[in-house]
Every structure is written in structure tokens, then in C-alpha cells.
Amino acid sequence: MFDRKLAASAALLGIASLITSCGPRLAEVVNNGEVLPDRSAATIADARANGELERARLTEERLQAGTAALASCTPQVCEAIARGEVTIGMSFGQVLAATRTTADAWESRTSGGFTVLTVRPGSRAPDDAVGELAYVSLESGAVANYTYREPQGFRSVSDPADATLAGRAEARAAALLQQGDEYAAAGRLDLALDRYDRADVIRPGDSETTLRIAAALDKQLRPIEAILRYQLFIHQMELEKIEARGVVAANIAEAIARARERVIILEQQ
């Protein structure tokens, strides 16, 4: 009788222990009621100390480069530094002063008398007042050309005229026309027209752009707008100048003839 009771109790105990062991074993990370010390204050203080040191070093370096650059610049280069623009003929120090950067911002590679400054991998590209610089080439220690990274692609400046607003607009419009041509070739006339329109805004009154817009509208079966553009193109052409242009003139004259032909056809339709 006693043995039976003992066996039953042991079995129950066994089952109970089995049931409890099925649950997960928990390792508490934070105990309820525990006071957690503020860890972030120390992290912020460390970051502040390290950041101040680095910033002071970079600022000092930048100021030194700026002072040295301004002490030895020609009036034209000094003006460019003051405007924050890179220009042809600047030294490396003057490039740093114009871009308000230090040598840490650039990766420099020298071969022979040429030095190419590029963006350090993994960091933001330095920029001047005009735009983001992709690379700067120096020949015998002076800037020979430099390249901007722009929405239309890369734009190189190797002549002071390229750096003017007109030069910039010219390069941008050319890049937009190229993009538009590619879209037109791919059959995306809506996108092509968008790029031609943007080129027209940047470089207004350009006959090449007008002709492209007219052709795109013509292909999109928008005859009234196409006629207007073809007529504008013909108007933009000065026949006297065409005659003086030799072989190129023949192509332009052909384009005018084609435009006139399209105007007649579209008007008849």
C-alpha cells in the first residue's frame, strides 16, 4: 500500500518536472526594478573630445593653406579663391583654398609632371561654388583642367571660357541634346522632347535644338506644334551665314529644305 503511494508520487513528480523543463530557460538582460546608469553621456563626451581635436586640426590646416594661397596669387586667381571657384592655373594649395578643403579631402596621384586629384573613396566629393568636382589635373604644379560631376554627366573645363556661365550652359545643353538623341533612338519620344525642351531653356534660340524639337513633335503626331517649330527653325537660320560655311552649310541647307517640305506636308494634311 505504502509502496504504491510512493510510486504514484514519484511518477507525478517526474511528470511535473518534465512539464516545467519544457519551458524556455530565460537569461534576463535587465531585471525589473534595476537602476540603469546613463551610458550615453560618456559616449557623447568621447565623441565631442575626439571631434574637437579633428576639427581643430582640419581648420588649422585649411587656414594655413588659405593664407599661403592668398599670399602668392595673381589677381585673377585671388578673385576666384574669394568666389570659391577653381580656375585654370591655380596651384594645389590654391585649389584647397578655393574649395575650402584640406589635403585629407583628395587623393593625389602623380606621374611625370602630371598630378591628378580625385575624390577620396567613400567620402563626399569636394565642391567649389560652381559644382561638385570629380577630379582636377595639374601640369607642372598648375591646374591644367578640371571636371565637374553634373546631372547630365561629367563636364570638363580646360579653357577659361568653359568656366563662364555661357560655357557651362553650352556644355549642359550639348549633354541634354545627346541624352535626347539617345531617347529618340530608343523610341522614347516623350523623354527625348523633355531633354530637348530643357536644352532649349538653358541655351535659347539654338537652331539645332529647335529642329530636334520640331522633329520629335512631328513624330509624335503633333502637327500644329511641329509646324511652329519648323517655321521657327527656318527663321533662326540666316542664309547669308550658311553660304559662308562651306560643307557644313550644305547640311544645314538640306535641313532647312527638309523643314520647309515638312511644313508644306503638315499644312496640307
Binding site: L36, R39, I44, R48, R55
Partner: protein, 204 residues
């Protein structure tokens, strides 16, 4: 005998009423904000603090701010706080830990934080008003805002598993800093919290 019984009954009644009234009184104790107290198992201040501390540590542990300073001649990066979406099943006030991170950025001097969203609109309205009503000497100029280089965005997600009285809740908080010009992520922070909640067998 009868009188005695009535007197005892009245005394017992008074005692019961007194105990009942005493039990109804609310007990408030002021405690340290650093003390971890979990009652329901839902998202609380302790979780928010843990996330904030982890994010601050991860953000300063990464080199994105130093890299920016190096590429810009020592000027600290400007950060705009974007949206941190709560994609969990419960209400989570995300601004508690986002503000902690903002405070850390500003106090460290490593990062500039610029106002965004509704706060920025309010500031712009005020600035426009100043052009008309403030004196020339004290007027703040238009078009002089500091443009942000990076935007802080993020989300909170949760997974819940429940069986009987037991429940496991898992939270994952992801924050990232995105370069506003190139859309590339320069820093990604992540913190995970897992809770095991067991309800009592009997509840009154």
C-alpha cells in the same frame, strides 16, 4: 446582549468602510527615471532608452561624421531628421529616442541638426513675418538656411509569438543616414529587443 451585538456590528462596519476607503486611495511614489520597471510588457521608457543608447553608440562608433569633416575642410555634417515609421502592432512614440539621438549629435559638436517638417515650416513663417514687422537691425535674412547633407530615417518593426499565458515580443529598430544628394546610406544602426512575457495563472 442585543445592544452589545449592535455595537460590535457597527464597529465591524466602520472598520470595513475604513479599510475600503483606504484601499481606494492612489499611492504615488516618485522614482528615478533610470529605474527599469516593466508592468505590461509593452514598449516602454526602458526600451526607448536602450534604443537611444545603442544608436548613439553605433552612430559615434562609425566614421561617417569624421569622413564628412575630412572632405569638407572640418565643417561638421548637417543632418535633417526625417520620418521614423512605426510598423509594429502597438503604439510606439518614436520621438523619445529620436530626440535623444538629436541631443547627442548637437551636444557632441560633431553633427549639426537642422529643423525639418512642421518645425521648419513654423520657422519659415516666422522669418517671413520678420521681413515685414521686425526692424532692419534685428531682421533675419531669407535664403540663409543651412542645407542638410544627410537625412535620418528609420522604422520599428515587431514580431509577436503567443501561446496561452506566454508571449514573446521582438522589436527591431533600424535607423539610417542617407546622403541627400546621392541617396547612398552612410550609416545604418540597428537595435533588437526581445521580451518574454508570462501572465499570472490567476488574476483578480
Amino acid at each position: 446582549m442585543k445592544r452589545k451585538r449592535i455595537a460590535v456590528s457597527i464597529l465591524v462596519l466602520i472598520a470595513v468602510v475604513a479599510v475600503g476607503l483606504g484601499g481606494c486611495a492612489r499611492n504615488v511614489t516618485r522614482i528615478a527615471p533610470e529605474q527599469a520597471i516593466d508592468l505590461s510588457g509593452r514598449w516602454n521608457d526602458v526600451d526607448s532608452r536602450m534604443v537611444a543608447e545603442a544608436m548613439i553608440e553605433q552612430s559615434f562608433g562609425s566614421s561617417w561624421a569624421t569622413e564628412h569633416m575630412r572632405s569638407s575642410g572640418g565643417s561638421p555634417p548637417a543632418v535633417l531628421v526625417g520620418s521614423v515609421r512605426n510598423r509594429s502592432m502597438e503604439h510606439i512614440p518614436v520621438n523619445t529616442f529620436v530626440r535623444d539621438l538629436e541631443r547627442a549629435y548637437v551636444n557632441s559638436g560633431q553633427v549639426r541638426v537642422v529643423a525639418g517638417g512642421a518645425e521648419r515650416d513654423e520657422l519659415r513663417d516666422e522669418r517671413v513675418d520678420q521681413q515685414e514687422f521686425a526692424s532692419a537691425a534685428t531682421r533675419n535674412q531669407l535664403g540663409m538656411e543651412h542645407g542638410a547633407a544627410y537625412m535620418l530615417t528609420g522604422e520599428i518593426q515587431s514580431i509577436e509569438d503567443e501561446e496561452g499565458r506566454r508571449r514573446v515580443v521582438y522589436y527591431q529598430v533600424d535607423l539610417s543616414l542617407v546622403d541627400l544628394e546621392t541617396n547612398s546610406r552612410v550609416w545604418v544602426g540597428q537595435h533588437k529587443i526581445k521580451k518574454y512575457i508570462e501572465d499570472p495563472r490567476l488574476r483578480i
